[in-house]
């Protein structure tokens, strides 16, 4: 075998095209401000940059006081849900070039939860309603062979869609019913209830259905489809809620 021969000289990478994007952020510092206000920043971006990169650039190079949550930065942890041009998106999954960069990009904290600072909200009410649906396997019986609770691929596929939830709150904070009096569970809690209600190994589905049959349970859902549009994992949230409604009416199927 002959030695590998370099046929072409390595191409010098061309200058990477950049563009300037204007971001208008809704700022709020509880120590200084009485009211939130909008502040704009210009950042030089590349086609591969996401909204999160723009926020990093602002925080690291322009204004260190900017506060936002992010952990994994790759769409898995669900920390950086925010309202980008009026739609709830993960900052780490939204490419700047996919937005209309001829206009400023408006970024604010997700709605319906208490604002703490800049893009950070208090997630407690969201997590409280998540906890309220018992989001854990409830099984009283001992498994057949004493070790595992077995499940067929078909049984697993029944609730596969709702296992993808990362609890980013993009769906719940996009729901107009959740914005009103704060008594509604919100889509995320119902999605996580759905994940266990339709799990063949679980024995507590009736408990969850009773919780969601409450006055402020699934019946407050108006099928606005904001949640399905907002979900960064592509979960069919409104469909899951409809299935829970059917399960309450007709029993689990």
């Amino acid at each position: 075998m002959s030695n590998a021969v370099m046929e072409n000289s390595p191409a010098v990478p061309a200058e990477i095209a950049t563009f300037t994007a204007t971001l208008i952020l809704r700022r709020f510092d509880p120590d200084k401000d009485a009211e939130p206000y909008w502040q704009d920043f210009d950042v030089v971006m590349q086609g591969t940059d996401r909204v999160l990169d723009a926020l990093h650039k602002i925080k690291w190079e322009q204004d260190g006081s900017l506060s936002f949550r992010r952990s994994c930065a790759h769409g898995v942890c669900g920390s950086d849900a925010m309202r980008i041009n009026g739609k709830n998106r993960l900052a780490c999954k939204t490419l700047i070039k996919d937005l209309d960069i001829s206009k400023p990009i408006y970024i604010e904290a997700i709605k319906g939860l208490p604002l703490e600072k800049d893009l950070i909200v208090n997630m407690d009410p969201f997590l409280e309603s998540f906890k309220a649906v018992n989001p854990f396997l409830m099984a009283g019986s001992v498994p057949k062979d004493g070790k595992e609770r077995k499940q067929s691929p078909i049984e697993r596929a029944r609730y596969d869609d709702t296992t993808k939830c990362i609890l980013c709150a993009a769906c719940t904070s996009s729901c107009p019913v959740f914005w009103t009096d704060g008594q509604y569970f919100g889509p995320a809690a119902i999605v996580n209830a759905h994940r266990f209600i339709f799990d063949s190994r679980d024995e507590g589905s009736q408990v969850r259905l009773d919780i969601l049959n409450d006055k402020e349970g699934v019946w407050r859902c108006r099928t606005t489809f904001n949640c399905t549009d907002a979900c960064p994992r592509g979960i069919e949230v409104t469909k899951a809620i409809a299935e829970v409604k059917q399960a309450i009416l007709r029993g689990k199927s």
């Binding site: 709020f28 509880p30 120590d31 401000d33 009485a34 939130p36 319906g112 939860l113 208490p114 604002l115 703490e116 208090n122 407690d124 009410p125 409280e128 309220a132 107009p176 019913v177 914005w179 009103t180 009096d181 704060g182 008594q183 569970f185 009773d210 919780i211 049959n213 409450d214 006055k215 402020e216 349970g217 019946w219 407050r220 108006r222 409604k245 309450i248 009416l249």
Partner: protein, 149 residues
């Protein structure tokens, strides 16, 4: 340190309640009555506006003739009750979604309930007590098809 007022506070845990679940039955009613109303409304529109002589046929005698037929009495009663309750329940959910102030919400829900009850009562009264030729009326006020007394 100032904080923005929490829109979801105070937090209340989900309550378990006994008895009928108004929200659930309201939800079911909206779907069930919706299906029936599609038939009732389009049937009503077709008979009044398209069938026979079309829209030109509508006059006092046409309405009197329809209300003399038990079939249309039942049809109109169903249409009246289902549509008004369907509309009122829709308005109730909108008020529940958007009226944050307790007093305002109560007032609006009360107004919806009152107007619905008034309209249903009046409408039902008209359907069942309608008489195109009331006895003892002067002849010049009666429609032409009334028997001459």
């Amino acid at each position: 340190m100032s904080t923005i007022e929490a829109p979801r506070s105070p937090l209340k845990p989900a309550r378990r309640r006994r008895g009928i679940n108004v929200e659930k039955w309201g939800w079911i009613y909206m779907r069930a009555s919706g299906v029936v109303l599609v038939v009732l409304i389009f049937g009503h529109l077709f008979v009044n506006l398209v069938a026979g002589a079309g829209v030109k046929a509508i006059d006092f005698a046409f309405v009197a003739g329809k209300l003399a037929d038990p079939f249309w009495v039942v049809w109109d009663t169903l249409l009246l009750w289902l549509a008004l309750l369907h509309g009122a329940n829709g308005m109730r959910t909108i008020v529940n979604d958007y009226a944050n102030n307790r007093m305002v919400r109560r007032l609006m829900l009360g107004a919806i309930a009152l107007s619905t009850i008034a309209l249903i009562t009046l409408g039902t009264l008209v359907i069942y007590t309608f008489d195109p030729c009331p006895a003892g009326s002067p002849a010049n006020l009666l429609p032409s098809f009334c028997p001459v007394r």
